[in-house]
């Protein structure tokens, strides 16, 4: 049998790994990091300003209007929720399938999930007309008599789906970190550091009993997260699919959204990982080109699925014989928002085809650029779905256009600020690669290194 390529490059022993990963948390970062943090923080402030203005004066500050009552907020919400999916897929599904290559990217992918869901979560709350009453979407005991939430509304399902997802992802992420946090605690040189990481590591001692419990909990949580990969974006897609609007009312939406979510999620993982590799050169041995290539293959595969969905939407629009449906899809591709549609198709279907070439799959600049295109394309996919369906529906007298305002742009750009800010903080305070999971994939202590024989 051919020997598999090693998952971690270089000749590392356990101590090297611990040192490499913990070093990042123990040194004062360089100016590049602070420059990045400053930029991200500034964008984050833009986000706070934009949303603050919108909350202060009303939703009228945004570009939405009659008939396009949903715009930036919902588009960007779906975008960020979608981003999160790759993290769960990598950490949960690939874990259950014993895909060991996931070990060095799982932690950061999960972090990305948690942050993406945090960013996403702000949007539906702030997009409502009266955000101070958004808690009415929660079914809690109240004094309003029989008035209760409407369990028929997909928006309510969204509340459950997203909050469940946020909770499970955060718990999963945190539990996975416990042994590593204990390592950092043990290496700590100052009292406060020891205390903080000590508290976070939940009294981990590294006994066999600890490990046994840990492994079981981790696997259970992986099992719990796995259906979420499929369910969360399915339910988000119900916001559209359950409505009666042509262009939204489509049975293909749940799988299509999930494929799109994984696609965009991997796009974002690749973006972040290339950035991590640049920021922390040592990690190049852990997050190797092999890892990147594997992710690029997934991007290409899911990109094809998404492309298939685009095609089948058109087919069904024609095959259904519904004039409204047919019109909406022709209008998408050739109406006033044709450019958005073709940006979407180019970025999501055409450009990832470059990954058929091995050279492209293994070139960091190429994959970085493509992953950015994928992110753009997936934002536009949600734009196309939300705006082009709404702007021309049943009665032509209602037709209208959507023109974004400066506050829309502030909310979109600022949400990236929030995400990057959280991410940059994370890289420096939490172990960005799972020490505990990477060590077992080393060949140390194995005969002939046939560790992958199953």
């Amino acid at each position: 049998m051919m020997k598999r390529a090693p998952l971690i490059w270089g000749t590392k022993n356990y101590a090297d790994i611990t040192n490499d990963i913990c070093e990042l948390l123990e040194k004062v970062p360089g100016w590049k990091y602070f420059a990045g943090l400053l930029g991200a923080k500034t964008l984050f402030l833009v986000y706070i300003l934009a949303q603050g203005v919108i909350v202060a004066y009303g939703m009228g500050m945004m570009g939405i209007s009659h008939p396009v009552m949903w715009g930036t907020d919902i588009i960007t919400f779906v975008f960020w929720i979608g981003i999160g999916h790759a993290g769960t897929l990598i950490s949960a599904i690939l874990y259950l399938f014993r895909q060991k290559w996931r070990t060095s990217i799982a932690r950061t992918a999960e972090a990305m999930t948690v942050f993406a869901v945090m960013v996403a979560g702000t949007f539906p709350v702030l997009h409502v007309g009266r955000p101070w009453l958004a808690y009415w979407l929660l079914p809690y005991p109240n004094q309003r008599g029989p008035l209760w939430v409407n369990f028929r509304s997909p928006l309510l399902w969204d509340v459950f789906a997203v909050s469940t997802y946020a909770t499970v992802s955060a718990v999963f992420w945190f539990i996975g970190m416990v042994p590593d946090l204990a390592t950092i605690r043990d290496r700590a040189t100052t009292v406060w550091r020891r205390r903080i990481y000590g508290a976070l590591s939940l009294g981990w001692r590294g006994t066999a009993r600890d490990w046994s419990h840990y492994e079981i909990v981790y696997m259970l949580l992986a099992g719990l997260s796995t259906p979420l990969v499929l369910s969360v974006h399915s339910i988000v897609s119900f916001d559209f699919a359950v409505s009666s609007l042509p262009g939204w009312h489509t049975t293909i939406f749940p799988p299509y959204f999930v494929a799109g979510a994984i696609f965009s999620g991997f796009g974002m993982v690749v973006t972040l990982m290339t950035m991590v590799r640049i920021l922390v050169p040592k990690f190049k041995d852990y997050i190797t080109l092999d890892h990147m290539e594997a992710m690029n293959k997934i991007i290409m595969a899911t990109g094809l699925m998404v492309g298939y969905a685009y095609g089948s939407e058109f087919f069904i629009a024609w095959y259904s014989g519904s004039p409204y449906e047919g019109f909406v899809f022709m209008n998408r591709a050739f109406g006033p928002y044709w450019w958005a549609y073709w940006i979407m198709v180019s970025c999501n279907v055409f450009i990832p085809q470059l990954f058929w070439f091995k050279a492209a799959r293994r070139s960091i600049p190429v994959m970085f650029v493509i992953s950015i295109f994928v992110n753009i394309g997936m934002w536009f996919e949600r734009f196309v779905i939300v705006v082009t369906s709404l702007h021309r529906d049943f009665l032509p007298s209602n037709w209208g256009m959507w023109h974004p305002t400066i506050w829309d742009l502030g909310a979109i750009a600022g949400s990236f600020g929030m995400f990057l800010f959280l991410f940059l903080i994370y890289i420096r305070v939490l172990p960005a690669i799972s020490i505990a999971e990477v060590k077992p994939v080393l060949e140390v202590g194995r005969e002939g290194g046939n560790h992958d024989k199953h």
Binding site: Y57, G58, M59, G60, I64, S65, H66, P67, V68, M69, W70, H127, V128, G129, R130, L133, A134, W136, L137, L147, W148, V149, N150, R152, S153, P154, L155, L156, V159, D239, V242, S243, S244, L245, G321, P323, Y324, F327, L390, R392, D393, F394, L395, P396, S397, N398, W399, G400, H403
Partner: protein, 1039 residues
């Protein structure tokens, strides 16, 4: 012991107050006892050591919490004193209705003013009034807002003018000093009175008394005049009058550039009569329209042909020619001169590009409908040969034996209602000759609407100008004294818009400010004049005077005297709102056409038709002459044809737009006469090529915050050279290269082949009432929703609806619908709960037009209800889809899922900028919506509720027709029917089940509670493709 005590009594320092001697002595034992007596806590001792024990701590904490909460006192109750003596007929919380009237230019009809706790909040139609029978116009509804206009004058003003009369600074004066000055001036003679249309018999009497005191010359002028009609009546039949066109008797109507449904003289009454004759089951009328611009009447035409304004006469005379040659009417067929004249035009008509044989075909149809047909012509604005066209129309009506039947000259508006530009021209001339010393202006605004006439310059020659208006407007600033007039809702008045029906107007609120009605002013001045009549002397106020006139004039009629004394009579008339003084069913005395009047046609026969493009000024349905321009409801009222609001624009035909390479909203330099005006272009389908249209009523400079600077003043272009007040002229346009945003509330103007408005020809309808309606077989897994008691529903008859838009403003008034301004209309955020969609069918060059009012459909399977996460929109057991504003968090999902997009969102706090006292016009029955919530048509749920409670308290069952929605109530065409679908006898149930009723987007299975009845055209074929044909390639039914 006693001794000791007594000793100490003397020795010790005194304790001022003491209870016992022990205390006085400061006995240590006693002191200990005292400390224990009011021991703060037995527990303290029990637990021993002092300090705060646990219970002590809890107690103290409880006490301190209680103390801190004492800080938050409830809002102190403020007692209000209820009515010590409650005004009669007033129940707090219930509206009172007062019969009154609305005068708008030459139009006048009966209204009911809804007042709550003494303040009018809405104007509704008086269902008894013979002219409108409850129908309303958008303007009449909007009139309420002008009462509360924050920019009304609050007291009399004097302009501090310099020698050049250019200083417009004003100071407040008292009525005493103002009256003194004015009376002194009036006594110097040379008094001119410039008035708008005035049909009030009492005011006329008062003015004649005034005239005897001071020798006053009276001029009647308004920017929209019908002097050509009245003059032609004089020339053709001998009496100057404005005839009443009886559309309810007209089976066949030809309108040549006459927008009788939109603006012409009395559109509300016209629409009512026209619609009454438009029932396809009862001898439906036929409307043929020849016109240059696309008017509201043109959109309702069965057949419509495009002509240039200068060809009006040609078409009419060619019809005369056809009739003469084909029917040979005895009196006219042998008139050689007439034949020659007519054949000249017949020749000319052949080059108009009308379909071949059209005119002879029309002539035949007209002839077969003679006596029941009607030919009308002329806009509200004079054109070069409009007088000749009126003469030709009179001739046609006489040939067709319509005169006296559909042209009712006995019921006509009398000369009082006539205004003319010639009058204004005369006044200008006299002013220029320095023959006038004092000018009193009332009820017209020449400073704005006669801006090009030289009136303002001439006015400076008068010694004193007195203006009785409600604001410091364009005329006000040119006047020395402005006597602020009452709003009509604060004033007594009467009107006789058509003779035989006198309508009373009663005040419904104490004057808001220190205003004085024009009539009161005139009365005061008359009293100070020489030889005031006894009527004037006896009357303290205008009210006394009015009553005296009524007593003398109407009560004295024998028919009235019989039954009542005057007080009873007065109360009865007030209650009813109007008095019919004549038996109108009486046959009219016959009159005959005076052939010598043909000279007015001969005069213009050789007028060379200019080859260049013609500009035609026109009034819009919303703003009309521009007098109510400061009412935001009217500015945001989408034009029934263009659907644009907050602007006027140059309408251009699609063909002209192509050849001049114009796009919608391009700014062009319009050159007409010597004047230039920069205006945006609107490409108007169906407009005649080589014609431009520009609406008057815009471009106010001193109307107030709402109207100032909206649009351009088209009156500036009106020509006063050859003929006074002509609104059609040669014009050129040149592109400026810049663009301008026009706020159009409709996004797209074609139905895209969808079944939205179903049209059928009369023949198709007679064969199959459900013609052209494509039905769907709907299936459902679920059982129907139960509606145990009532199930409210509505049927909108597209065949009756003229698209006038009265319902839009009625709803706005009833339901506190905010206006949002041009900026947000451009963003698509207008808030109207009922909107009228207007679609063009067929080619853009010459389309047919349909109107479709859209309200909330109150679907049984409402898509909005399912998706609201907080259940802020729910289905009632009466079939209505109810919106719970205070539960709504504003996800806007409901709007996205509504196929009809009838929901409106409060993007901002739209109520916040409502200036005082405009808030008084709000209806307290309807919640004022906060920002961030959805709103939509409620089927006037508050009316349903109050009718049901009323029925319950009166222990009577609810009758069909007890509940009317605001839109239904105001519709002059009775196109909207509302009621209980569970009642098999109800009108709405019957209409609902009619074969030609259909649900909009039926195939979505939303099961709307609103249905439409298809539009019937009395024509041989329909323009354009019918929706269903592209919809399912003729398969018939599919499921």
């Amino acid at each position: 012991m006693t001794k000791d005590n007594s000793n100490q009594l003397d020795e010790q320092a005194p304790v001022k107050y003491w209870l016992s001697l022990d205390q006085w002595r400061k006995d240590p034992e006693f002191n200990k006892l005292v400390e224990k007596e009011f021991m703060s806590s037995p527990l303290q001792e029990e637990e021993g050591k002092g300090g705060w024990a646990r219970r002590e701590f809890l107690k103290l904490m409880g006490a301190s919490i209680a103390m801190t909460s004492f800080g938050c006192v409830r809002r102190p109750a403020q007692m209000i004193v209820p009515y010590a003596k409650k005004p009669q007929d007033m129940v707090l919380g219930l509206p009172n209705y007062y019969a009154s009237s609305f005068m708008d230019g030459h139009e006048g009809f009966g209204t009911l003013v809804v007042a709550r706790e003494g303040r009018p909040i809405k104007i509704e139609g008086n269902a008894e009034h013979p002219l409108n029978r409850g129908g309303m116009s958008a303007r009449a509804h909007a009139h309420i807002l002008s009462l509360y206009d924050p920019e009304r004058l609050t007291g009399p003003k004097r302009n501090l003018m310099n020698a050049k009369k250019s200083n417009h600074e004003t100071v407040s004066v008292s009525y005493e000093s103002l009256d003194k000055e004015i009376v002194e001036q009036l006594k110097r003679g040379g008094v001119a009175l410039l008035l708008g249309p005035n049909t009030s018999p009492s005011t006329q009497t008062l003015l004649s008394d005034f005239s005897t005191s001071y020798g006053v010359k009276t001029y009647h002028w308004s920017p929209l005049t019908y002097e050509d009609i009245s003059n032609s009546q004089k020339y053709c039949y001998g009496r100057e009058l404005l005839p009443q066109w009886n559309f309810s008797k007209a089976k066949y109507i030809i309108s040549v550039n006459c927008d009788f449904l939109g603006v012409h003289v009395s559109p509300t009454a016209n629409a009512r009569a026209f619609a009454a004759r438009r029932k396809p089951d009862q001898g439906m009328n036929k409307l043929i329209v020849f016109e240059s611009l696309m008017s509201l009447t043109g959109t309702n035409a069965d057949e419509r042909f495009r002509i240039k304004p200068q060809d009006e006469l040609t078409v009419l005379m060619a019809l005369v020619h056809e009739l003469l040659t084909f029917a040979k009417p005895a009196r006219y067929a042998n008139e050689g001169a007439l034949l020659k004249l007519a054949s000249h035009f017949a020749q000319k008509a052949s080059s108009l590009g009308l379909p071949k044989g059209l005119l002879s075909h029309l002539a035949q149809e007209l002839w077969s409908a003679r006596g029941n047909s009607l030919v009308v012509t002329g806009g509200s604005i004079k054109t070069e040969n409009s007088l000749a066209a009126q003469v030709a129309a009179n001739l046609l009506n006489s040939i067709l034996e319509n005169d006296g039947v559909t042209v009712e000259y006995e019921k006509a508006s009398t000369s009082r209602n006539l205004t003319s530009h010639t009058d204004l021209q005369n006044l200008i001339d006299e002013l220029n000759k320095n023959q006038i010393k004092t000018v009193i202006i009332h009820n017209c605004n020449p400073g704005y609407a006669a801006s090009n006439s030289g009136f303002i310059e001439a006015l400076k020659k008068a010694e004193m100008v007195v203006y009785s208006g409600d604001r410091m407007d364009e005329t006000g600033v040119q006047s020395d004294y402005v006597v602020p007039d009452h709003h009509p809702l604060e004033n007594w008045d009467d009107s006789e818009a058509i003779s035989g029906v006198v309508t009373l107007q009663q005040p419904t609120i104490e004057p808001l400010y220190q205003t004085r009605s024009f009539q009161d002013s005139v009365l005061v001045w008359s009293k100070a004049g020489k030889n005031p009549s006894s009527r004037v002397k006896d009357a303290t106020t205008w009210y006394d005077y009015l009553r005296a006139v009524w007593k003398a004039r109407f009560f004295s009629q024998p028919a009235m005297m019989k039954k009542l004394d005057f007080e009873d009579f007065w109360v009865e008339v007030l209650h009813q709102g109007f008095l019919e003084t004549k038996n109108t069913s009486k046959a009219q005395p016959s009159r005959s056409f005076n052939l010598s009047s043909l000279k007015y046609i001969t005069e213009v026969v050789n007028a060379v038709a200019t080859g260049s493009s013609q500009l035609l000024l026109y009034p819009t349905v919303g703003l009309r002459d521009g007098s109510l321009a400061n009412v935001s409801w009217l500015q945001e009222f989408p034009d029934p044809v263009t659907k644009i609001c907050w602007d006027n624009y140059l309408t251009v035909s699609p063909q002209d737009a192509v050849s001049a390479q114009l796009k919608e909203g391009d700014l062009v330099q319009l050159k007409a006469g010597e004047k230039n005006l920069e205006v945006p272009v609107h490409i108007q389908p169906g407009q005649a090529d080589g014609v431009f249209g520009l609406a008057v009523g815009y471009g106010r400079t001193r109307a107030g915050k709402v109207a100032n600077g909206v649009g351009k003043n088209a009156y500036d272009l009106m020509s006063w050279k050859k003929n006074s007040g002509v609104g059609s002229m040669a014009a050129q346009i040149s592109k400026t290269g810049r663009c301008y945003d026009l706020a159009c509330v409709q996004g797209h103007h074609s139905m895209e082949g969808r079944q939205i408005v179903v049209e059928a020809t009369l023949a198709q309808y007679q064969k199959d009432p459900g013609a052209n309606i494509h039905r769907h077989k709907m299936m459902t897994m679920w059982s129907e929703l139960p509606y145990p008691n009532n199930k409210w529903g509505m049927v909108i008859d597209l065949n009756s609806c003229t698209g006038c838009g009265a319902c839009v403003v009625a709803c706005q008034s009833e339901n506190n619908v905010p206006t949002v301004g041009k900026k947000y209309v451009l963003a698509g955020r207008e808030m109207h709960w009922i909107r009228i969609d207007r679609y063009y069918v067929g080619s853009p060059a010459d389309p047919a037009v349909v109107h479709q009012p859209i309200v909330c459909m109150h679907c049984d399977n409402a898509p909005c209800e399912a998706v609201c996460p907080v259940m802020a929109t729910v289905h009632s057991d009466e079939g209505t889809n109810d919106m719970i504003y205070n539960r709504c968090v504003g996800t806007r999902y409901c709007s996205n899922n509504c196929p009809y997009k009838v929901r409106r969102f409060n993007w901002f706090n739209f109520v916040k900028p409502v200036e005082k006292p405009l808030n008084y016009a709000m209806n307290p029955e309807v919640t004022v919506r906060a920002r961030g919530v959805m709103e939509k048509c409620t089927f006037c749920i508050h009316r349903i509720r109050s009718a049901k409670s009323q029925a319950k308290t009166q222990e009577k069952p609810l009758k069909d027709g007890d509940i009317k929605t605001a839109c239904q109530q105001s519709c002059p065409a009775d196109a909207i029917m509302f009621g209980d679908l569970n009642n098999p006898e109800s009108q709405v149930r019957k209409l609902f089940d009619e074969k030609n009723s259909y649900a909009l987007l039926e195939e979505l299975n939303t099961k709307p509670a609103v249905r439409y009845r298809s539009k019937i055209r009395n024509a041989n074929e329909l323009k354009g493709e019918q929706g269903h044909s592209t919809h399912s390639s003729g398969e018939g039914q599919h499921s």
